[in-house]
Amino acid sequence: MTRRYSSLAIADAGDLVFGQSASPVDCGYGLGIGRGLVYPEVNFTLPPISIDAATWPDVKEHYHNIAKGVLRRAVALEAPGIVLEFELLPAMTETPDWGAEITALLRDHLRLAYERHGLKNALRVTPTDIRDRNKPPALRAGAPWERLRRSFDLCIAAGADIVSIESVGGKEVHDRGLMWGDIRAIVFALGVLAPRDVAWLWDRISLACAASGHAVPGSDTACGFGNTAMQLAHQKMLPETLAAVVRAMSAVRSLVAFEHGAIGPSKDCAYEGPILKAITGCPISMEGKSATCAHFSPVGNIAAAMCDLWSNESVQDVRLLAGSAPEAYTELLTYDCRLMNVATAKGKSLTLRDWLVESDEWLSPQAAVLSPEATHQIAQAIIGASTDYERTVAAGRAAVAILECGVSQGRLNISAREGQWLSRLDRELTELQGKEQALTEEMMRANPRLFDPASYDLLE
């Protein structure tokens, strides 16, 4: 079931465009993702509310109303198709039956929308990775893993069409690395720990999907890595250059999911998606300007340039003048998709893509690494390296080169302190080439209680 990518599925950056993927995914009720059209992917969450047995009827009522409103709006706007994403909240993975109950509820709404209105659709379900309950996290055994595994099984049985996860392997080291600006720890987390966990996890998720006969093994996202860095950079707590390089490096651990059974669509919060699309050809979900309900990003337009699903990331079920917030965001996404789909129909998709790219590309280091050309360069660097560790270092160096080139050409303006970080990243990543064994030994010595070597098949 495993494979190793050593060439690009989309060899020309000019072919990286929204709506078109080399390996489309068919799922749910008649939905073909990456076959030419971009579809909205609507994600939603609860307003402030405790989740327990006493409030469970209210929780279900929220999801019932969300699905009803979202699908009603999609039908009214004649959306050609839609994906709903149900991201389980931690309590719904801790009690797997709860997550399955909501999955079945949403699935029922989607079935009716297809039967009554012909709305093509699919349901993506994303259990919460709760394996970091304990410190250090025990990833491969114990109650949290057993509950997570059962959550996948029950949600698939309840009708999930696509399953995904934001896995946390390596995050315990990466978080600390980010806070201390420790590039060696960041590389170790992204290049050694995370790929080992992703491989182990996706061997199991893809098997569960195969056994079901209907569920698609979607993808893993580096949300806990790249988006943590992005948000901290937004708050001026970390350099943007570091966040951009982390984004590029995080693509490697997400690629490993595709090498262990995932087939896409990638998850919306995986901004590394375009790199994955270039390598695997799989369709990707992205989020940007229409996800401002959830968080800031400096990549609002460029994120749409190569997407196959267009998402709002997450919106609370609260009332707005227009109706419920999930309903309003369904409308927003549908109009975004209409524009992209008309551009494609008129043969102008590359024109629109390039406008989306150029409007963001050099305004932020984080945008500069997400253009089709940058994506292509990073993807090339990844497939040209021998191990996941070397791929990670190579992706980081490629991102540094892109940023340095942008600065030297006067297109990317960064502050002096950002420039110092870029130089440091260049120096330290260069030094880390070929040092996997030494770095692993160093990290195991330096962090004896921060991570569990057995969870990563690392011998003590």
């Binding site: 509310i49 309950r133 201390w180 970390l238």
Partner: protein, 214 residues
């Protein structure tokens, strides 16, 4: 006699080794530990906080300075205790039950330590009972609660309610923070203070200490 301004500069630069060396040399020359703390170390951390708020420092700069401060304080603490000097205050900090996010909480803990507070970090996914136990065993002046999710915010209220029920609420000030938390929510649930982000944690904690009876 070492140039004491080096102590200020070393903490500002996050250079723990130099900071400790300068402080050790100064103590050997009979400099008063309280003078080192109040005239060089605390002003250095105040400057760190200022630069962070002005976006001249990133978090790693701030944490390295905090580490230099902590290492130097460890050298000074026995001498300060002997002279009767106290920490700026004692804080129990944790992320509330059901929430595993701890980056913001860790950052606030580091900032408070750098600001001269004695911090007891009870971790993430902390039940009200664990907070109560920490209050009873650590006798803090302040309890700091963190949450990142809208669905775990209610656990802040639950925690404060349980502190009341256990009879320990009035013995501490409660400060709260986290992405979805608002000043209005803090007032609604009966917290004493709210921080919009980590950078204001030290000033909030100091203002709470000013309201705490000695």
């Amino acid at each position: 006699m070492p140039e004491l301004n080096q102590l200020y500069e070393a903490i500002l630069a996050g250079d723990a080794k130099t900071a400790v060396e300068v402080a050790r040399a100064a103590l050997a020359e009979n400099e008063a530990p309280l003078k080192l703390l109040l005239e060089y170390m605390v002003p250095a951390m105040d400057e760190v906080g200022r630069r962070f708020q002005c976006e001249e420092f990133f978090v790693p700069d701030l944490l390295l300075s905090g580490r230099a401060m902590k290492a130097t304080l460890e050298l000074l603490r026995p001498l300060l205790s002997a002279s009767g000097a106290q920490p700026a205050g004692r804080v129990v900090i944790g992320t509330v039950k059901g929430d595993l996010h701890d980056i913001g909480k860790n950052l606030v803990a580091s900032l408070l330590e750098g600001g001269g507070f004695e911090v007891y970090d009870v971790g993430a996914d902390v039940s009200p009972e664990q907070f109560i136990e920490a209050i009873q065993s650590r006798n803090p002046d302040i309890v700091a609660l963190s949450a990142l999710l809208t669905v775990t915010m209610p656990a802040m209220k639950t925690t404060i309610d349980e502190l009341k029920r256990a009879g320990v609420r009035d013995s501490v000030k409660v400060m709260i923070g986290g992405a979805p938390v608002t000043r209005q929510y803090a007032e609604e649930i009966g917290a004493d203070a709210y921080g919009e982000d980590a950078s204001v944690a030290v000033s909030i904690a100091r203002s709470l200490m000013a309201k705490t009876p000695k």
